[in-house]
Symmetry: C2
Subunit: 150 residues, 2 copies
């Protein structure tokens, strides 16, 4: 029944809310010893994953948040010496943002911690289940984005 479907989806949504909270909390815990937060970690991750320096709006898109939100974290991290601004030949006002040497070192540490932790969390859950879940979540997100914007 379609009524049934909405019930399952409701439970999934509530679980996602809870998981989001738990994950941020766990993430903050994981990086606390390195004086980081989940938010800053994610900014570093976005730049690292891109493999090149990005502008603040590009980081925002990569993270799925607003440019102002990303900018806040970037400004803070530049001030802390974790990131550095490179003049952007293509845009005078919008510098490219990269990890500083310190930032790169810190991120390397954080990534090792994360991989260990994630592997530990994943043990006992079949790869197949994880893949299926990822796939279904992506499908939901796709439909969500199309629905909202359409």
């Amino acid at each position: 029944m379609s009524c049934h479907e909405s019930e399952i989806l409701t439970k999934i949504v509530l679980t996602i809310f809870r998981l989001n909270g738990c994950l941020i909390q766990a993430g903050d815990e994981l990086v606390k010893s390195l004086k980081l937060t989940s938010a800053k970690w994610q900014v570093m991750g976005a730049v690292t994953l891109a493999g090149k320096a990005l502008t603040a709006p590009q980081i925002a898109v990569a993270m799925g948040i607003t440019r102002q939100g990303a900018q806040k974290q970037v400004n803070a991290m530049v001030k802390e010496g974790l990131m550095i601004l490179q003049p952007n030949s293509g845009h005078k006002r919008s510098p490219l943002i990269a990890l500083s040497e310190l930032g790169a070192r810190v991120y390397e540490k954080v990534d090792r911690i994360w991989v260990d932790w994630a592997n530990q969390l994943a043990t006992g859950i079949p790869d197949h289940d994880l893949l299926e879940t990822l796939h279904t979540l992506e499908k939901i997100r796709e439909r969500l984005v199309n629905n909202t914007r359409g």
Copy 2:
């Protein structure tokens, strides 16, 4: 490989972050016409789901947030006339919180909107996939909570 597992889990985590944002945004959109927000909607849902009036800390537990966070929403909604305080014979300081008549009417509307919306979102995704996903997410959350607190 366990390295592979952590990669899948990383993608799942990032998708959950994104989904959380999208869902809150979509939720705010859904209830905007009723002058509600996702947060207030969730509080109403917690009380309705319980089938009885709850104290603020009980609502917080049900929502998986801190008591102060729940209290903020409750205080606001009492002020708006969506919820009412009932004297708690078991605890002088901690009144039971229930939906007012207005609140119940509003929640009924919101629930109808949500069920329609959720069913539409779920169509095209097999029930089986949704159930599997729910199950796996719950498993992850369980392991997460045990890990963090253990």
